[in-house]
């Protein structure tokens, strides 16, 4: 049990493969204990990408959400309100492992037949895992002049890649 806990804190998954009896019928069977230690990766989402609510006027503009702070910088023509946040993910794995992060560079948001485009960026392109690692995703929403009001939805891909 102690060993298992120790291995886990090193960021590894323990998969006990089996107790393999060398001779099942022998009266005094020898048993080999085998355990395979696997490198693991855990990705958990800790926050959603939230631009808050945007009120649009006759001219459009950009609303830029900082990946670092989660704050929105709003063009003069727009009124931005509400709580905002960058998407945030935590990554746990074997210490010292290198992972690359890819995020869709653009995403199309739809509300019925109306659409908007956002460009996205990750806070980190590469992480060398050291424990308690995380990254965030922010972006810039291009709001058109007289953009129709509505609930705009879109999906974007975030992938943690092992080489």
């Amino acid at each position: 049990m102690f060993n298992k806990a120790k291995l886990l804190t090193a960021g590894s998954a323990v998969m006990a493969v089996a107790l393999v009896s060398t001779s099942a019928n022998a009266a005094t069977a020898n048993a080999d204990a085998r355990a395979t230690i696997l490198d693991q990766i855990t990705v958990t989402k800790t926050s959603d990408l939230d631009f808050g609510t945007i009120v649009v006027g006759a001219t459009g503009g950009n609303a830029t959400l900082s990946a670092a702070s989660g704050a929105v910088n709003c063009a003069a023509a727009l009124v931005c309100s509400g709580t905002t946040s960058a998407a945030a993910f935590s990554v746990a794995g074997t210490a010292g492992e290198t992972v690359d992060i890819t995020v869709d560079s653009t995403v199309n948001l739809l509300s019925g037949t109306d659409s908007m485009t956002a460009s996205l960026a990750s806070s980190d392109a590469t992480l060398v895992l050291a424990g308690g690692d995380s990254f965030t995703v922010g972006g810039t929403l291009a709001v058109g002049a007289n953009q129709a009001t509505g609930d705009y939805v879109g999906n974007f891909d975030v992938t943690v890649n092992y080489q």
């Binding site: 323990v14 693991q40 990766i41 855990t42 939230d50 290198t98 590469t126 092992y162 080489q163």
Partner: protein, 272 residues
């Protein structure tokens, strides 16, 4: 079967002991993080739902090509070259879609069915594990009829390489041009890693400085895939490490422990 369920139970118990952060639907654990097969014998990859809600995951094979800056670019199945098509057609895996309760692990079985006349070489695809998002409830817009409400949902996942080797393959590597780069994202240690031969190289980078008993930087899991002859390796470093990255340093590239841990390449360099 008992072997599998036995291992899964142990794995489940082990996973539940691990401290987990706040959980969302679609959170996932994947182990191992790299698969190399050099025969017909297959293997298993464990996928575990570490979220708080049941989630449906899709497992797919994707193609990626390494770029000169070390990124993995997506390649569509239509753009695939002969090597990539061969990799896709010989890798068998199941299941491809699975709904898991929280903390329920599932073994994904991976096998290889190489065609008779398969030429020697290294074949690779990347296995993508990703939760399928649930249908989104439309956010209510009470009180702010003039506004736009925006719901941007991340679909997040993990890719791991599945590598198949046939024949006696060789590769060598060389390190050059060690440097510290600083931009708005902070400091990074960068160098050029070149490769020759008919397979990829993979291993651990260690940067040491004379007089210091511990390496300044250790980064595991650095590959140069066979489709590139050289790549830039750029590793983020904290400011206190960047401050020490001056003067003479030794950059070494070791095989992973499971591959023997031998030295692949090393270089001495003087940093500015």
């Amino acid at each position: 079967m008992s072997r599998l369920s036995n291992s899964l139970c142990t794995f489940l118990a082990a996973t539940m002991l691990a401290p987990l952060p706040a959980q969302a639907a679609g959170d996932l654990l994947v182990a191992p993080t790299r698969v190399v097969l050099d025969g017909v014998r297959g293997t298993e990859v464990i996928l575990n739902n570490v979220g708080a809600e049941p989630a449906t995951y899709r497992i797919s094979l994707e193609l990626r090509r390494m770029t000169p800056d070390g990124k993995l670019d997506e390649v569509t199945k239509e753009e695939a070259n002969a090597l990539e098509q061969a990799a896709l057609s010989m890798i068998r895996y199941a299941p491809r879609r699975i709904t898991l309760a929280p903390n329920q692990p599932q073994a994904i079985r991976i096998g290889v069915r190489p065609p008779q006349a398969l030429p020697d070489g290294e074949y690779r695809a990347h296995m993508l594990f990703r939760a399928i998002p649930k249908a989104q409830p439309v956010a209510p817009q009470a009180g702010e009829p003039q506004g736009l409400s925006i719901a941007l949902t991340p679909i997040y996942g993990v890719t791991i390489p599945i590598i198949i080797r046939k024949g006696a393959l060789q590769a060598t590597a060389a390190i050059a041009n060690g440097r510290v780069e600083t931009d708005e994202n902070g400091h990074a240690f960068a160098f050029d890693l070149s490769r020759q031969g008919d397979k990829s190289t993979y291993g651990e980078i260690r940067v040491t400085k004379p007089g210091l008993d511990k390496p300044l930087l250790v980064a595991r899991g650095i590959a140069v895939y066979a489709e590139v002859e050289a790549r830039t390796v750029k590793l983020p470093v904290p400011a206190e490490v960047a401050a020490q990255l001056t003067g003479p340093v030794k950059i070494e590239y070791f095989e992973s422990h499971s591959a023997g841990g031998g030295l692949i390449a090393s270089a001495q360099t003087a940093l500015k």
